[in-house]
Symmetry: C2
Subunit: 196 residues, 2 copies
Amino acid sequence: MKKAEATRFSILRKAFELIYTKGYQTTSIDDILATTKVTKGAFYYHFKNKDEMGLAIINEILKPNFAKNFIDPLKNDQDPIELIYNMMYHLLMENEFLKVEYGCPAANLTQEMAPWNERFAKALDELVNQWNKSLIATIEKGKKDGRIRQNVDAKQVTFFVMSGYWGIRNFGKLENNRSVYVSYLKELKNYLNSLR
Amino acid sequence: MKKAEATRFSILRKAFELIYTKGYQTTSIDDILATTKVTKGAFYYHFKNKDEMGLAIINEILKPNFAKNFIDPLKNDQDPIELIYNMMYHLLMENEFLKVEYGCPAANLTQEMAPWNERFAKALDELVNQWNKSLIATIEKGKKDGRIRQNVDAKQVTFFVMSGYWGIRNFGKLENNRSVYVSYLKELKNYLNSLR
DNA sequence: CTAAAAACATACTGAGTAGTATGTTTTGTT
DNA sequence: AACAAAACATACTACTCAGTATGTTTTTAG
């Protein structure tokens, strides 16, 4: 039962890469098979259909990656403002997994699938809610520690910060240049400092 | 030369609606023909191919709409902070053309097309640059009038604000609920006021 | 009114597409 | 080794897609 798991995972990995760069709809199963050297029989042995594979990508590829890069960095007792800024800086400037020209995988999938596939929307919403909760908790902790103003609304700030991230990712796609990230990050720092 | 223009425009209008709700790739020409009651011969008389139609949508549908809702509201001598906030409020809460479940048409197209179609990317970039310039001008004017701090970087703020808008539009898709807009707008107001 | 061009209509093509039917090979269990 | 189930392979189907070939109708200019 080990080789089969490897086959399944290799499909998910490669499919994710193709979908990240090309989009879900425009990535055909034949595309995936061609790059994985897996045959159609194997594919449909592991996945009931394309959508099941898509959901598996969210749950088995995106979710762990999200946890590592969006959640774990906040689990720390440093200054919350710095934690949030550093996470963003890392995501935008240092993470070699996320490419400027292809944006954010979760945002891409949301954009493409959420309006007409409830199951995708729900899976992605769960993903994003984890980030949401972590950010809120980080800010609330900062308020308790006296490092963030008491009249700051953690939920509002979180939506504001998350939106900015998704938006600048889309912007990067358009310009295909990290310079927009630099401007964004500078102003993000100003904004975050205004919460002190 | 009047009826033909009407046919062309009706194709663009209906195609835009379909693309806005379903996406560019997943909107087939046959879909467009079915809803417009135009035949394939007529379609290909007016447009060389699907991509030319897509570009026409950006230039002839999106651009005027963008000018009306994103540019013109800033051409005013009111307080720049209020101008920007009111524009955003109108876009998110009052504009009945833009639906929460379908996000921002320009952002959708950027997400879907920018990485692998240069002409779309360029056309969309022009569109967005106009908004960019208007926002920068608005902020610069505010600085001159003394209504915005002198050490505010207009370009940075503009990227930050635009990103937030695109991001919260994507968020709205996920939750399919304007309540995220409300949180976002409250925090946007806080942020904008911090620029005074 | 007439002829030519503009505007549209119909039927088709060839290349994908997701998914299936029906196999063969590999693996684990006894 | 033997057998069954798991894991994979191949060939196909029914359908959709963008685009074309070849018409017919409508408009416009003289």
